[in-house]
Amino acid sequence: MSSAITRAAGPAAGTRDDESRRAARRRATRRSQLAAFGFIAPVVVYIAVFFLYPIIRTGQLSLLDYDFQSYFSGEAPFIGLDNYAAIFANPVFTMVIRNTIVFTLVSLVFQYVIGLALAVFFSRRFPLSAVFRGLILIPWLLPVVVSATTWRWMLYKDYGLFNTLLGTDVAWLADPSWSLWGVILANIWLGIPFNLVLLYGGLQAIPGTLYEAAALDGAGAWHRFRHITWPLLRPVTAVTVLLGLIYTIKAFDIVWVITEGGPVDSSQTLATWSYKLSFEGGTEQSLSLGATVATLLFLVALVFGLIYIRSARKEVTG
């Protein structure tokens, strides 16, 4: 009805009406965008409270003197970068950095190599392959505390299974020169399912025709792995290793339940040291010193996180 009137009123009036209609549509779009934003608004608040605020607050705590008294009074004076100076000057700091690097790198290398070997093996089609792959996931679905408790028992010096099996007499948990290696052993085991799942998925994406063609050309198993599997798996390898690195560098439960970072900080990493400084120091504890180490750890994780997101995006867009 109204459109008939508009048309009858001539071109000039029509233009004006088009304009108002466009404005109305803009208003409607804005209103619908606002309504759509209503659905994600709670999550924006959630991000602010549970991710942005903690990062800022932890950073701010690292600039305060939140000592044992402050846990009761809540008051903590600003002291600038003194906490960072104290952490860098602490002799434990060098050891913690070394431990974190060794723990992360050794875990990653073995998790990846074992995970890849298993993925290649399970890519051969044989009965029960899917069942086995499913079963291997179990450790991943259990609380880390459960696995860590089991490893702690197996690593005991006197009646632990490990020394019995290896015929050794190592105090995996009590000897400062071995404690980190005990934790690394457990952590390698813990990370295998994750590597297996990702790498297995990556292997399935490689077209089988490539292998058939290579086999026709007389390429052996090693040759096919070296010249087809390895190069084509590279993007998945990058994602697996980067994600593994981010997860390993912040690992807490596995270390804490097995050794509590000890004895004498010999298996302490940045994550456990931060916790210890904040919450386990008795009258020496300082939320600010813990926050300082946590902030350092966050910066490291952030760098690798951004690299990961970049490489994951590159993989998606080609």
Partner: protein, 274 residues
């Protein structure tokens, strides 16, 4: 033909050995949980529980039944909280093209990289001010920081795959945004919702650091924390410690057996995270 059969047989055999080797620590946990205290210090240990005792389980249930139910409450609460936060957001991000979608997604990708010790340090200070230390809701909220990013990324990817034409025809029939959400998107996303919920439960059930930091005393002690305290307290009764560990493993194992396809969906989603 014969060669192929032999090769298949070898593969199954190797697969069995690899699988058994990788799962051995879990077998050992069960074995120790059934061992008599006087046999625990035996060298070499018994490989099979030929003469099992259930005393370990009796003691474990006696001491940790409360912790198991606390974990159940915290886990279920975290599931509800996670889905309440994640479902509308995933709908807005995937189907309504809400402004800020890209930024929110990027933040959640990044959120998964933040070390838990960073969050828990600040949450401790915040909870102390707000009186949320040693409260159920405080612990559930802290646990949700692991499950919400996972749920959002999973759910919005799933909802994105729902054809817009379905929603379009519903709109023509007069369905508003909320009606489209509850009547079309939610039912169609059932599988993804179940997966997100399952993993929210598993994350909360497995949490240790939040419970250890944000609670104190004996009021709220989930099973992970109880197990850790148990190690220190029960130096001689390791069969009871291992029995507690077995009890704490039930939900994860149960889900792997009875909800395998949801777990598989979550594993790939969590792994690829996109």
């Amino acid at each position: 033909m014969k060669v192929r059969r032999i090769r298949t047989g070898t593969d199954v055999l190797i697969g069995t050995v690899l699988c058994a080797g990788l799962l051995f620590p879990l077998y050992w946990m069960i074995n120790v949980s059934l061992t008599k205290p006087q046999d625990l210090a035996r060298i070499p240990p018994y490989i099979f529980p030929l003469d099992p005792t259930f005393d370990g389980y009796r003691l474990a249930l006696d001491k940790n039944l409360g912790a198991l139910s606390t974990s159940m409450v915290i886990g279920l609460g975290t599931v509800v909280l996670t889905l309440l936060i994640a479902l509308p957001a995933a709908y807005g991000m995937s189907k309504l093209r809400a402004p800020g979608t890209g930024a929110v997604l990027f933040m959640f990708l990044l959120a998964q990289m933040i070390p838990s010790v960073v969050l828990v340090t600040a949450l401790f200070a915040l909870y102390k001010q707000l009186g949320l230390l040693t409260t159920h809701v405080g612990l559930m909220l802290a646990d949700s920081t692991a499950s919400v990013p996972f749920a959002i990324i999973l759910l919005q990817a799933f909802m994105r795959a729902i054809p817009d034409e379905i929603l379009e025809s519903a709109r023509i029939d007069g369905a508003g945004r909320i009606r489209s959400f509850t009547a079309i998107v939610l039912p169609l996303s059932r599988n993804a919702v179940v997966t997100a919920g399952l993993f929210a439960f598993l994350f909360a059930w497995g949490d240790f650091l939040n419970a250890k930091t944000l609670t104190s005393g004996n009021e709220i002690v989930p099973i992970t924390l109880a197990l850790f305290r148990f190690i220190g307290a029960e130096v001689t009764n390791w069969n009871a410690v291992m029995a507690s560990a077995v009890l704490a493993s039930i939900p994860g194992t149960f889900l792997l057996v009875f909800a395998q396809r949801y777990v598989a969906a979550g594993v790939t989603a969590g792994a690829v995270k996109d």
